[in-house]
């Protein structure tokens, strides 16, 4: 069962892609072009807002942002 936080992140991504109705936890957000370089900053901002944390942009590990599953593990576990 997913947390409310990761649901916010999923909803934000789906809101940017109205052609999609669902987003599996293992979909690669970057390779699937669901998140581009501009949207990546907004994604970080969305995660910060949902998780109540501050993310150091200079210390980001891109692997943490690859899928909803990795985001949930890194920021909502």
């Amino acid at each position: 069962m997913s947390s409310a936080g990761i649901d916010k992140v999923r909803d934000w991504i789906l809101g940017r892609h109205p052609e999609r109705t669902e987003l599996a936890a293992d979909v690669d957000l970057i390779e699937s072009r669901l998140v581009d370089s501009l949207a990546f900053v907004e994604l970080v901002y969305t995660i910060e807002d949902a998780a109540g944390v501050e993310i150091d942009f200079d210390a980001i590990d891109i692997e943490d942002f690859q899928t909803l599953a990795t985001i949930e593990k890194a920021f909502f576990a």
């Binding site: 390779e31 370089s37 501009l38 907004e42 942009f57």
Partner: protein, 143 residues
């Protein structure tokens, strides 16, 4: 022996409108430095959407010269400011400067244009380490 490099990027002005939406918070501050924010206003003080889109496109174009796959764009470390004669100039700092040094880049030049709802930018430089960059282009893409 040096090798020329170019990077190009395109940003729709509509994306800037999204970033200016007050409902999503001060996201633009993540992309632009204080100096860039000050330079991204029209004479009447309104956000210069074309200027912001061009600046973002130029940052991404410069980033493509760095060969830094698997890393997010260090937006704050690639500043695009007005240079001599009104041409855009590039100032690197922090991670971006380290990546440029690692890639063996010489001075970087950028050119920006806007029309029909889009901004496009091209960045050019030479590298003294072409093999370093050649090895990186086969790696996984990045945001």
């Amino acid at each position: 022996m040096s090798q020329p490099l170019i990077g190009v990027d395109l940003v729709p002005l509509a994306r800037v409108g999204e970033l200016l939406d007050p409902d999503i918070g001060p996201v633009l501050r993540r992309f632009l430095s204080t100096e860039e924010l000050a330079a991204s206003r029209t004479p009447d003080g309104a956000p210069d959407r074309a200027g912001i889109a061009g600046r973002l496109a130029a940052k991404e174009a410069v980033f493509k010269l760095l060969g830094a796959v698997g890393r997010p764009v260090p937006w704050q470390g690639i500043e695009v400011l007005r240079g001599p004669g009104g041409r855009p100039g590039v100032r690197l700092s922090g991670t971006a400067a380290e990546l440029a040094q690692h890639a063996g880049l010489g001075p970087i030049d950028v050119s920006i244009s806007h029309d029909a709802g889009f901004a496009i930018a091209v960045a050019a430089a030479t590298t003294s380490r072409p093999t370093h960059l050649a090895g990186s282009v086969t790696s996984k893409g990045m945001p």
